[in-house]
């Protein structure tokens, strides 16, 4: 039973539940304590020891159901009784199929599984390989030979025997394939997930499939959590600080120099105050989507954000994020439903002018202004003077451009003209780029 629990834990790991050694020891002790008789009690005890969050518990339930589902060879409801009267000495596998001894078949399968080491399966492309390995270890070659021989005999009885054996062989194949599939589901998830995550982090956001979005959200959430963690640690160093000897002495002169009231050197870290101005025209839409997702996934205590979106005109979008959950809000901005925005041709000049007119007060010395867009202005007036004004008022202006550097300034791109007024201008079209941009803010 110990081996079973071991396998269960490793498959749980591949489901993405992080389990430490001490936790698996707990699981073993818990299982030893409650025994294996009552499935529900066993499940609860293991779950208490292994799954530590709601998400993990969900995964645990899924894995538990899957793992403890396959425990017997599925009954094949064949009513034909295969005849064993044959001149040929038949292979062991053929004999097992003829006599329909499930226990023997199961044992043989398990032995073959052990031999083939299916729990090392990594990719779905290996399913065929492992199926073949198991079958050949069970002696499928002998079975095939027997079927061939029955056919060659060419008597009505032997033909029937061959047909039935062929059917039994197909069923066996199905069963083994099903088994391998389950093993894959149990053990191969983690590497595949890891690979997908690495791929998605560096994939061009504009080229992503819709089907990948869910996975992206998970990654974004993870990134946000990591950034939050790092930042909260920085905040802490602000609270501690070192002893400020001079201040302490001065303060305690009144107490004959006895240090009653101790003063600390404090490193003050401002909460970043961010204004995001996003172009939501189609060319940059996906990047904006994930950028806003990341910004708003960060803890509100850590970053203060006001967001503006523009296409032909500019509007403030902060309220949308107050009213709806982040994911929904981002989707809303994309389509512009219920918002007073014209989705015509992009006009950076007008957007900057309107921003200056209505919201310039919001920009203070502490504000970082982030502009997200490809700077393709449809040959309109770029209004660089306005951008320069914004820069003078703000702490810094960061321009994130989804186009790669080589394309800046080509065609109707005004990026080259805007460049002198940005403190930082970066190419930004993958999740990793986004993460780096946010990191530099904090």
């Amino acid at each position: 039973m110990e081996q079973v629990l071991h396998d269960f834990i490793s498959s749980l790991r591949s489901f993405g539940v992080r389990i430490s050694t001490s936790e698996s020891i707990d699981a073993f002790r818990a299982a030893e304590l409650v025994g294996y008789e009552d499935r529900e009690i066993l499940k609860t005890s293991l779950s208490a020891a292994l799954a530590k969050t709601a998400v993990e518990e969900e995964k645990f339930n899924e894995c538990f159901a899957l793992f403890f589902s396959f425990n017997s060879f599925p009954d094949n409801e064949t009513e034909h009784i295969l005849r064993a009267d044959s001149q040929h000495p038949v292979s062991p596998l053929t004999r097992m199929l003829i006599s329909q001894s499930h226990a023997e078949l199961m044992a043989s399968l398990m032995e073959a599984v052990e031999e083939a080491q299916t729990n090392e399966i990594k990719f779905f492309t290996q399913k065929g390989l492992y199926t073949h390995r198991i079958l050949s270890h069970m002696g499928i070659d002998g079975l095939d030979r027997d079927i061939r021989l029955f056919r060659q005999e060419n008597t009505p009885g032997s033909i029937q025997q061959a047909v039935q054996l062929q059917e039994a062989r197909d069923r066996l194949f199905e069963n083994v394939r099903g088994f391998v599939e389950r093993e894959h589901d149990l053990y191969a998830r983690a590497p595949t997930e890891d690979m997908m995550e690495r791929y998605l982090k560096n994939a061009k956001l504009g080229e992503l499939e819709k089907s990948d979005y869910d996975r992206m959200y998970v990654i974004v959430r993870k990134m946000a959590k990591r950034l939050s963690d790092i930042y909260s640690r920085r905040m802490r160093s602000f609270r501690r600080g070192h002893l400020d000897a001079r201040k302490t002495l001065r303060k305690n002169m009144a107490y004959e120099g006895i240090p009653f009231d101790i003063k600390w050197k404090k490193k003050k870290i401002d909460r970043p105050d961010v204004i995001v101005i996003c172009d939501v025209s189609r060319s940059v839409a996906t990047v904006v989507r994930f950028f806003l997702l990341l910004v708003y996934s960060l803890n509100k205590a850590i970053i203060k954000t006001r967001s503006f979106i523009f296409c032909s005109n500019i509007i403030e979008a902060s309220s949308v994020f107050d009213d709806y959950p982040v994911q929904e809000a981002v989707a809303k901005l994309q389509t512009g439903t219920g918002l007073d925005i014209e989705l015509g041709s992009t006009d950076y000049g007008r957007a900057f002018l309107d921003f200056r007119k209505n919201w310039l007060d919001a920009v203070t010395r502490k504000t970082s202004v982030i502009i997200l867009g490809d700077a393709r202005n449809n040959y309109g007036d770029p209004q660089t003077a306005t951008l320069s004004l914004i820069r003078k008022r703000s702490k810094r202006v960061i321009w994130l451009n989804p186009e790669s550097r080589a394309f800046w300034g080509t065609g109707d791109s005004e990026m080259k003209k805007y460049l002198p007024y940005c403190n930082i201008a970066r190419e930004c079209n993958t999740l990793s780029h986004l993460e780096r941009a946010i990191d530099s803010l904090l």
């Binding site: 992080r18 430490s20 001490s22 936790e23 707990d26 002790r29 818990a30 304590l33 409650v34 529900e40 009690i41 609860t44 005890s45 779950s47 208490a48 020891a49 799954a51 530590k52 969050t53 709601a54 518990e57 959590k225 909260s232 640690r233 802490r236």
Partner: protein, 316 residues
């Protein structure tokens, strides 16, 4: 953990019964987790929405085991001097003043500064001994010779540093005091930690605990709870009010009514001599279990149909 009422924790069923005797209905899920935690001597991290009886669970466990309950309420800024131990500074000062003359005696025969310090060194740690130690909840729980139930409430409200202090206490049941050394638990306490999930706890802390998630109870369990807590309420009214509360929890509201609020409502209805639910009574007592004006508004919108549903479900 050697305690008087140990046999209650000898099986899952007896735990359920034992808790029922102290008026706490615990599901098989909860009972199993407690059983494992108690027998493996592991802390339990209890999570769940507000008002499902997380804190109560620890209190009842103390009652079942006939052990003292030591409670540590966490909040932002909680530090070791409030949670683990502190020196009795006042007592130390007072004693040094009183013993001034004594000190003179000690260094009387010495000729040089070095010698007098040497003489003093013999009594070195006298001011940093157990007599001057003020134990706070964590240390107190470890010092109980008969064992104790330690409740660390709302651990998610505490800072990260405090979580780090907890690690030592929870995994080895010991506390390190630099001046004295390490203090081991005489008898391992049964530890409950509760969290409302306002902040993600560190993995290290979670790893040391068994995890228990308590959701809102289903109708059957909630009825049982009402029956045991407010037994005077008639069977019909009990069914109706639980059915109503269960419907309210399905609505999109700010704060779900908790179990304690269901109990309160049952008591209020009892005082009002209500025989069964009707729209008027419900409307007038909504504020017992709804604490936001907006929530009351939402529920009022659906009031007639919800009431009739509840009445139907509860049986005429």
């Amino acid at each position: 953990m050697k305690v008087l009422n140990d046999q209650v924790f000898s099986s899952v069923e007896s735990i359920q019964q034992g808790f029922k005797d102290v008026e706490y209905i615990c599901s098989k899920h909860i009972a199993t987790t407690l059983y494992v935690a108690y027998n493996l001597e592991k802390p339990v991290l209890v999570e769940g929405p507000a008002g499902v009886g997380k804190t109560d669970l620890a209190q009842r466990a103390a009652a079942v085991l006939h052990l003292p309950l030591i409670r540590l309420q966490c909040y932002e800024g909680l530090d070791e001097s409030k949670a683990i131990y502190e020196w009795k500074y006042g007592k130390q000062l007072l004693y040094t003043q009183i013993l001034k003359d004594k000190l003179k005696d000690i260094i009387k025969g010495t000729n040089s500064l070095a010698e007098s310090i040497k003489a003093l060194h013999k009594y070195d740690d006298i001011f940093f001994s157990y007599e001057f130690l003020e134990p706070r909840p964590l240390l107190m729980a470890l010092q109980q010779s008969g064992g104790a139930v330690l409740l660390i409430d709302e651990v998610d409200k505490a800072d990260e540093e405090f979580e780090a202090f907890l690690l030592e206490a929870l995994s080895d049941f010991q506390v390190s005091i630099p001046e004295i050394g390490t203090i081991q638990a005489e008898c391992k306490p049964f530890v409950f930690l509760t969290s409302n999930n306002t902040k993600e706890l560190s993995d290290a802390l979670k790893r040391r605990c068994l995890h228990l998630f308590i959701p809102f109870p289903n109708a059957k369990m909630e009825r049982e709870i009402i029956q045991i807590r407010v037994p005077e309420v008639s069977e019909r009214l009990r069914r109706q009010l639980v059915a109503f509360i269960q419907q309210v929890r399905k609505l999109d509201i700010k704060k779900m009514p908790s179990i304690s609020e269901t109990i309160d409502w049952a008591r209020v209805l009892l005082v009002l001599n209500a025989e069964k639910l009707d729209v008027e009574t419900v409307k007038e007592t909504l504020h017992v279990f709804l604490k936001f004006q907006e929530d009351i508004g939402v529920v009022k919108e659906h009031l007639p149909e919800m009431t009739s549903n509840a009445v139907k479900e509860g049986g005429e």
